[in-house]
Amino acid sequence: MNTIFKQIRNLRLNINFQNKSISLFSPLRLKEINETQNKNELIISGHIVNSGREPYLLKNPHPTVCPVCASGLDIKHTDVLILSQFVRTDGCMLPRRTTGLCRRSQKRISTLVAMAQKSGLMPNLTPANSKKDPKKRYGWKKYNKYFDESTIKIR
């Protein structure tokens, strides 16, 4: 039994290695990668999925301006419904080539995301190994804190 598991693990490592070396997936315009394990074979399949955002997308009245600047919103670090649109499932900020924001907005939004994470307002968008509940954090970090957006320094 143990040897079978080892073989499977080796197989997976090999496939991952191949995957990286020839980069099968990112140039093929994929949205989601699924891995299914059947006894001795590992099936990696990718397919295009909808982001689910199309019906709720705000229309940008000034297409030359970035979406955040064009919306004219004064976004605070407590607006988690807006900030969660700019992060991955592990709470990490999406790069500028993905978000399509201007340099200033990208900087400001990433600072706001960091503030929201530190305040524990997005506990479900965190790395897998983190303690989801902010009350379980170490020392002074477990207590409630808020931030002043005027302290964000952007040129």
Partner: protein, 178 residues
């Protein structure tokens, strides 16, 4: 004195009980607010010699919020009076020891140091959570508005609310979901 005037007299000088929810509030800004109610400074009949202060019940004092990294920057000083008896306690350490003390000290320090201060503090009732004895709770007739709204966490929204919230950006076609 007519019956109406007598009732007006009682109503004017009766002590009112206020409720204040300290969850996600800055204790130092809250102290400036609560002090007015405790001293009676919000009343037109206020005078320092006039004992017209109200009672304030503060709940959820363990959930107060400080800005930025003030939990580890603010220091409370105490000296026993003996040589080497000085001690410095960080705000979060004091809060860990007693979750009502940061707010209590904030209200105490916001008031002038006169003979009335100790008696005014007697009218402040702080509770670390929402469990208030029912004999105090039955007195309450007013709620003080919070200074800043309590922020709602992302996991407190439903799946539908998050999905149907207006979106600023769409993910590009070549983005790989993770």
């Amino acid at each position: 004195m007519s019956v109406l005037k007598r009732v007006q007299q009682w109503a004017t000088f009766a002590r009112i009980w206020h409720l204040y929810d300290a969850a996600w509030q800055n204790p130092f800004y809250s102290a400036e607010l609560l002090k007015k109610y405790l001293m009676g400074a919000h009343k037109p009949i206020y005078h320092p010699m006039n004992d017209c202060g109200d009672h304030v019940i503060v709940i959820n004092s363990s959930d107060i919020a400080l800005p930025g990294d003030e939990w580890k920057k603010r220091v409370y000083f105490h000296h026993t009076g003996y040589p080497g008896g000085a001690s410095w306690t960080l705000a979060w350490e004091l809060h860990k020891k007693d979750p009502t003390l940061v707010l209590k000290k904030a209200v105490y320090n916001s008031m002038d140091g006169n003979l009335q201060r100790r008696y005014t503090m007697e009218r402040l009732h702080i509770f670390p959570d929402a469990n208030v004895p029912s004999n105090l709770l039955s007195n309450i007739s007013n709620q003080i508005k919070q200074l800043r709204p309590k922020p709602k966490r992302l996991d407190e929204y439903t799946e539908k609310e998050i999905q149907e919230f207006p979106k600023l950006i769409d993910l590009p076609k070549n983005h790989i979901l993770r």
